[in-house]
């Protein structure tokens, strides 16, 4: 089976700091990969490399059969990779609805001249976007749809995370990258989030997901492949049980825990 995403030997250096060190993995269509590891291990940097925020110092990223290494972020989205951010980066002074509609940017095509001289077409496009966005807002847990005219900046923490996911889905991705989606959620909300992602996958069996998570309950909830990163390097990979039992993984987490105590 040909992989949807193929990451080979990716290294990301910032000056003297090696944030990601020779990491490689691949992901098939419809698969879920969970990336775990202590804070500052380089997980988000890996996301940034895949989505084109950073150009890797070395290595190659291919997606859907094409080399996307160092391609600008907006192009990567167009090819079908959508993401959320660890510290949700919503467009806080725009409404919830607008946030989702902006997520459809790569799936709409009105240009300046169209907007000016074919207002009808532009309006129809927007109307279709609104309809789609409302459906997306209704689909997830929480009551985002009822809050669709609120500025995104005024949402509660859990709703912000949900909105980020809705916005990412708006681009009709083939691969969804979720950077710690459960941060700031309580247990009930986390369970709802897991249910959301499960529902999403059953509706969209082809959608691949990469999940950065600290909450092991979320990781455990999916039939996942798990990869653990520490100090930028991959230290373990396999199914959840194997990775959890790996002594190096335990050390990475316990070491951190000990340091915090």
């Amino acid at each position: 089976m040909s992989a949807l995403l193929d990451v080979k030997g990716v290294t990301m250096r910032f000056g003297g700091l090696v944030a990601v060190n020779d990491v490689g993995f691949s992901l098939a269509k419809g698969e879920v990969l969970a990336v775990i590891g202590p804070n500052g291990a380089g997980k988000s940097t890996l996301f940034n490399v895949i989505t084109g925020v950073y150009r890797p110092t070395a290595g190659k990223v291919s997606f859907d059969g094409a080399d996307i290494t160092g391609k600008p972020a907006y192009e990567v989205v167009e090819r079908g990779i959508a993401r959320t951010f660890q510290s949700s980066r919503l467009f806080s002074d725009l409404s919830v609805l607008d946030n989702v509609i902006i997520g459809m940017h790569t799936r709409t095509k009105t240009g300046v001249l169209d907007a000016l001289f074919r207002p009808g077409a532009s309006k129809r496009e927007m109307a279709a976007c609104v309809e789609k966005a409302e459906a997306l807002l209704k689909a997830g847990s929480g009551d985002l749809h009822a809050q669709r005219y609120r500025p995104a900046g005024t949402l509660a923490q859990a709703d912000r995370r949900r909105l980020e996911i809705a916005r990412a889905l708006a681009s009709e991705p083939k691969l969804l990258l979720l950077d710690e989606p459960s941060v700031g959620m309580d247990e009930v909300e986390t369970d709802a989030l897991v249910a959301d992602i499960k529902r999403l996958r059953s509706k969209n069996p082809d959608l691949s997901v990469i999940l950065i998570e600290h909450d092991m309950r979320v990781v455990e909830a999916f039939p996942t492949h798990v990869m653990c990163i520490d100090y930028g390097s991959r230290i373990a990979e396999g199914n959840f049980e194997t990775v959890r039992a790996d002594p190096r993984v335990q050390e990475a987490y316990l070491g951190k825990a000990a340091a915090h105590a």
Binding site: T51, V53, P72, A73, Y74, E75, V77, E78, A82, R83, F85, R89, L90, F91, S92, D93, L94, S95, L97, D98, I101, I102, G103, M104, H105, T106, T108, T110, G111, V112, D114, A115, L116, P119, S122, K123, E125, M126, A127, C129, V130, E134, Y149, R150, P151, T154, R167, S171
Partner: protein, 391 residues
């Protein structure tokens, strides 16, 4: 900003009444301001205006009602606005000074709307709108003086030239931001102004004189305008021309604002990295904002050149750009109506303060600072887009 949308839309009758009454009230107020002489009248009208804004601030329902009414009877709103604008010169009569103020105010409204794409929608600094305005004015004036090109033909040519200039200033914006980008635009503005001041073919510091009046269907804009036996001074020609341009600018602004382009600009204003992650080509949208700004500004410049028939580099200085920025900020960033109000207010008010004419600029500076400190969102803050689905 955090208000939920009103639940019930007003009835057609209420909406119509509100639209007609508010527009008439606005027109009467503008007329009184233009007519006012002496310090006390102006101060009284300013107090009235202040009270109006205080009321709007205390009762946000009024603004919601206004928006809802406009949305309810859009055709009536547009028709009424057209009637008011068309009829205004008849009320003004032979008072050419009032007409002059209105023409300048309308041109500034266009410039402010042009800059609003950048400053308001995308929060990109641009201290070179004055330069685009100047390029429009000079290109069209040179074409008319040297080659006898008709005004109507110079319009698109000047706009094209300024748009190219807009793209040119836009290019550094792909890499520089905020303060650095502000300096790049300042630099472009100074370079253009200095070149106009130094080149021989632009007439140097003396500028260009004797730009011929445009004509349409054999009617020269230098002649009085006779409508239904009613004779209006020649300025009325330019008044209507400028009004048409304002209408074009409003339509442009509304269509762009309501399309995915306006949303993309808003997105990169809020968070550039997140915007990129939604697939927005941030660099292109920034350059685009510069180009659209320059395009509209050039139209205003062309009309200005043909209206006053004499232009010099002094008309297009750094201070002109700052004035335009101020209009956007005072009126309300990313609010079309607000920006127009800002332009009118800041064009007409200083003129009305002739009593203290020496201190006009001083007053101007203090007003800007005061506004930024007390009401940074402007007179009319930006509003959420309403997609009209309140199920």
């Amino acid at each position: 900003m955090e208000r939920p949308m009103p639940s019930g839309a007003p009835s057609v009758a209420t909406a119509s009444l509100f639209v007609v009454a508010s527009q008439l009230a606005g027109a009467v107020f503008l007329y009184l301001v233009l007519k006012a002489e002496g310090g006390w009248q102006v101060i009284g009208l300013l107090a009235l205006l202040g009270a109006g804004f205080f009321l709007l601030e205390k009762k946000p329902r009024i603004a919601d009602l206004a928006m809802a009414s406009m949305a309810r009877v859009p055709l009536l709103a547009v028709a009424m606005a057209a009637v008011v604008v068309l009829a205004f010169p008849f009320a003004v009569g032979s008072n050419t000074y009032m007409l002059h103020l209105l023409i300048v105010a309308q041109l500034y409204a266009v410039l402010a709307l042009a800059l609003n794409f950048q400053l308001g929608s995308a929060n990109i600094p641009n201290f070179a709108t004055g330069a685009s305005y100047g390029i429009g004015a000079y290109v069209s004036a040179l074409l008319a003086i040297n080659f006898g090109v008709s005004f109507w033909l110079t319009l698109p040519v000047a706009a094209l030239a300024a748009t190219l200039f807009g793209f040119l200033i836009g290019i550094p914006s792909m890499r520089t931001r905020d303060t650095y980008l502000a300096l790049v635009t300042i630099a472009f503005g100074v370079v253009v102004q200095q070149l106009l001041n130094n080149f021989d073919f632009t007439g140097g510091p003396n500028g260009l004189v004797g730009i011929p009046a445009p004509s349409l269907f054999g009617h020269s804009f230098a002649d009085p305008l006779v409508i239904f036996g009613h004779k209006l001074p020649s300025q009325a020609n330019f008044y209507y021309l400028a009004a048409a341009l304002v209408a074009v600018a409003i339509v442009t602004a509304r269509r762009l604002h309501g399309s995915r382009i306006g949303l993309a600009w808003n997105a990169l204003r809020a968070d550039e990295i997140a915007a990129r992650a939604q697939g927005i080509n941030v660099a292109w949208y920034k350059v685009l904002a510069f180009a659209v700004d320059a395009f509209l500004a050039a139209f205003a410049g062309t009309i200005y050149a043909f209206y006053v028939s004499y232009i010099s580099p002094d008309n297009f200085t750094f201070l002109v750009s700052v004035t335009i920025m101020t209009m956007v900020i005072v009126g309300g960033m990313d609010n079309i109506f607000g920006v127009i109000v800002g332009a009118f207010l800041l064009t007409i008010l200083p003129e009305k303060l002739r009593a203290f004419s020496d201190y006009r600029l001083l007053f101007f500076g203090i007003v800007i600072i005061g506004f930024l400190m007390i009401r940074p969102q402007g007179l009319f803050p930006q509003r959420m887009r309403d997609y009209g689905s309140h199920s």
